[in-house]
């Protein structure tokens, strides 16, 4: 048979459970603005009933756990999208900087090429005029400057991307260390069947940050997580983190090493992937086109120069210093070889007034001297390539940002703290608490009545 004491215990369990549930609500409200926090829900179950004779009595309520509400599939999608967004964000930012040099201005390479050929056309109308010859030398100097400015800005950009690689690897190492520590804390708690909700949230937040840096693949193992890059280089295994290293390679840039292996080319996603793609592919592609343009132009101009005669009637010499044989750094090293305007080989027959060779020089502006294209056509091809790469990266960035935003939206709709909901919960728990308290008061009255009764009889 039941007793008043048993009822008291039941009512007490209600008080305790509602208090615990209230804790969840309090914690949710407190963390309403905490990034990555997943709301907690109290899991209330009725306690095991007591069977006494033919009757089964309820024994109150137990707060089994405070459960963090989260959707693991959504989390995985968010990681993936965060990687893509990180990748295209750093790629976009690099390419947007690179394309500045290729925006039409008064001293971009295209304008300088035009001005150079224009000065030759003007010289052609009066080939013995020293002022016009000086004009050609000045235009040639400006052309060299334009190439330098663009080549230098690309080189600087590459160096600063290289610095970003090092700092991103450092960030990755800090995060993997942090995740390994959190793994320890989570498994310590979960091994004793405790709710590790807030540690898991913190770990998830760290994984999201890591995803924005590098392509992470997450493998859950019992109570803990193993993280690798998409290509299998280990980052975190349970409670241990594996540091990535950077080492300067032959070209003076930093390679990324994992356990002594060079994994630079395998990192394709995340900010580090984007930075590496910009540093190792996009920028070098632009540099190589610039070098082709510079060396093609220089070789063509020098070739024609050598076929003509200068103002003194001597055979023409190089107008530009010849580019390095490999063609590498041709743009950065472009320089004018002569300072005496008389040395421009405008003449085709050795006499001062002949413009035959100036015409031949001018004809280069329309001739397919660079990979089958005229200098200005080849340059506009570079403009297209640079613009196209930047525009594609921008489009990808916009797309991944929007997808990520939607996914975050979905995650928030599952895991986010709603103050309305919490207020309702608060009322609910408070009401239940008050009711339990009222029950205890009633039992108290009943107890009192029973005690009074015994006093009367006794």
């Amino acid at each position: 048979m039941s007793s008043l004491n048993a009822s008291l215990a039941s009512a007490l369990s209600g008080l305790i459970a509602e208090q615990g549930a209230m804790d969840a609500t309090t914690n949710d409200v407190a963390n309403v603005n905490t990034p990555g926090y997943s709301r907690e829900q109290p899991v209330l179950v009725s306690s095991d009933p007591a069977v006494i004779g033919a009757l089964t009595y309820g024994t109150g309520v137990t707060l089994q756990s405070l459960e963090s509400i989260r959707d693991p599939i959504l989390e995985a999608q968010i990681q993936e999208q965060t990687q893509a967004q990180g990748q295209f964000t750093s790629l976009t930012s690099a390419l947007q900087q690179a394309q500045v040099s290729f925006t039409t201005s008064t001293n971009d390479i295209g304008t300088s090429i035009s001005n150079f050929f224009n000065s030759i056309n003007q010289l052609s109308t009066n080939p013995s005029d020293l002022a016009l010859r000086q004009g050609v030398l000045t235009a040639a100097g400006n052309l060299a400057d334009s190439f330098h400015t663009t080549a230098n800005s690309l080189n600087q950009q590459q160096s600063s991307l290289d610095l970003s690689v090092v700092s991103q690897v450092n960030q990755i190492n800090q995060l993997t260390q942090q995740i390994a520590q959190l793994n320890t804390q989570v498994s310590n708690l979960e091994n004793v069947d405790q709710n590790a909700g807030s540690f898991i949230d913190e770990r998830q937040q760290a994984i999201d940050q890591l995803s924005s840096l590098v392509d992470v693949s997450v493998i859950p193992t019992n109570n803990t997580l193993t993280l690798t890059t998409a290509n299998g280089a280990p980052l975190v295994a349970g409670q241990q983190s594996f540091q990535l290293q950077t080492a300067v390679n032959a070209t003076g840039l930093h390679d990324v090493d994992s356990q002594g292996n060079d994994i630079t080319s395998q990192i394709t996603s995340g900010q580090l992937g984007g930075t590496l793609a910009a540093r190792d592919q996009e920028i070098p592609a632009i540099q190589s086109q610039l070098n082709t343009l510079a060396s093609g132009l220089v070789n063509a101009v020098n070739g024609v120069q050598q076929g003509g005669f200068d103002l003194n009637g001597d055979a023409g010499t190089d107008l530009f210093n010849p580019p390095p044989a490999s063609g590498a750094a041709a743009a950065a090293s472009l320089s004018v070889a002569i300072t005496d305007p008389a040395l421009i080989a405008a003449s085709s027959d050795g006499s001062a007034g002949s413009n035959g060779n100036a015409e031949a020089l001018y004809a280069l502006s329309e001739r397919p001297v660079i990979s089958g294209q005229s200098p200005s056509d080849y340059y506009s091809g570079i403009v297209f390539n640079v613009g196209n790469a930047a525009s594609n990266a921008e489009a990808e960035q916009t797309a991944s940002t929007q997808v990520l935003q939607q996914l975050n939206d979905q995650r928030a709709s599952v895991s986010g703290v709603s103050l309305d909901e919490e207020a309702a919960n608060l009322v609910q728990f408070q009401d239940a608490y008050s009711a339990s308290a009222q029950v205890i008061t009633t039992i108290n009255d009943m107890m009192y009545a029973a005690i009074q009764m015994s006093t009367l009889t006794g």
Binding site: N121, S351, Y379, A423
Partner: protein
């Protein structure tokens, strides 16, 4: 269905996106161009780069054309003076061929002709902007010097070179005729004919034949002048063409990269309206939750 309880992130992203679009529109209005960096429209940026190069070349062709035109006009005028001088020489020769003239009269005429000869030399030594026009490509050497030892009375120091100047994408123009072709052509030499006339007047023999020779030379120079006349006509035509080309290039530039201001301003207006509406909506709705009412 449960919704995202914190709409601020989304709203801020929307606001940022609208503001970014507004900034782009404002840039288009400020620059008047829809392609402000290559990534705005890579294909148009490439076309615009070529367009800039072609426009710059067309402007240069106009300038070069101006320089060439001056030289050719001067050469043409000089040739016109040469013809006039030769006509004078013919009149003098006809006068000398008159049977009533005695040796002294003919000597006097020959002296006048020597004056014309030196006039012709100075015309043939025409210089324009520091260059001798009729010396071939030897523009720094005086083309003709008087030379009593030469049968034609002059020595040609120039060469037979000619210059062509590119004045259009597919147009180049020969800008000079050398003196060796104009004045001392072996089969039609102006200087030889004048010298022959002087010699015949001095000797009294073959004056009429010499007059005919000068007349032939004069006709020859006239015929050569057609070259300069044609060149001037071609220059005028090319100038018109370059003007048209520049206009077309400007139209292409506008078509490829010009901002459609009506469209952009209309977009800008609707973006600003939408931005204001979003912000107003946030201001009105965002501050309420159940806690406000539970008191």
């Amino acid at each position: 269905m449960r919704v995202n309880p914190n709409p601020y992130v989304d709203i801020l992203a929307e606001v940022a996106q609208t503001q970014q679009q507004i900034a782009l529109d404002e840039q288009q209005i400020a620059t008047g161009s829809s392609v402000n960096q290559p990534s705005d429209n890579p294909a148009a940026a490439a076309v615009l780069s070529q367009n800039a190069s072609e426009t710059s070349a067309a402007d240069q062709f106009q300038r070069s054309l101006g320089s060439v035109q001056g030289e050719i006009q001067n050469a043409d005028a000089a040739l016109s003076s040469v013809t006039t001088s030769l006509q004078q020489a013919i009149s003098l020769g006809v006068e000398g061929a008159n049977g009533t003239d005695n040796a002294a009269d003919r000597d006097a005429i020959a002296t006048q002709l020597q004056g014309i000869q030196s006039q012709l030399i100075s015309l043939a030594n025409l210089s324009y902007q520091g260059n001798y026009v009729f010396g071939g490509t030897a523009t720094q050497t005086t083309p003709y010097i008087a030379d009593p030892t030469s049968p034609s009375g002059v020595t040609y120091q120039g060469n037979s070179g000619v210059n062509d100047v590119t004045l259009g994408e597919h147009f180049s123009l020969q800008t000079n005729l050398p003196g060796s072709q104009l004045f001392s052509n072996p089969s039609n030499s102006v200087f030889q004919s004048i010298q022959d006339l002087i010699t015949s007047l001095q000797s009294g023999n073959g004056i009429e034949a010499a007059v005919n020779e000068v007349s032939t030379a004069s006709n020859y120079v006239d015929a050569q002048r057609v070259f300069y006349g044609n060149a001037l006509n071609q220059l005028t035509a090319q100038q018109t063409y370059l003007g048209t080309e520049t206009t077309q290039l400007a139209q292409q530039q506008n078509a490829e990269g010009g901002a459609d201001l009506t469209q952009v301003i209309s977009n800008l207006t609707s973006e600003q309206t939408s931005l204001q509406a979003t912000l107003a909506a946030v201001a009105q709705t965002a501050h309420t939750n159940l806690f406000e009412y539970l008191k």
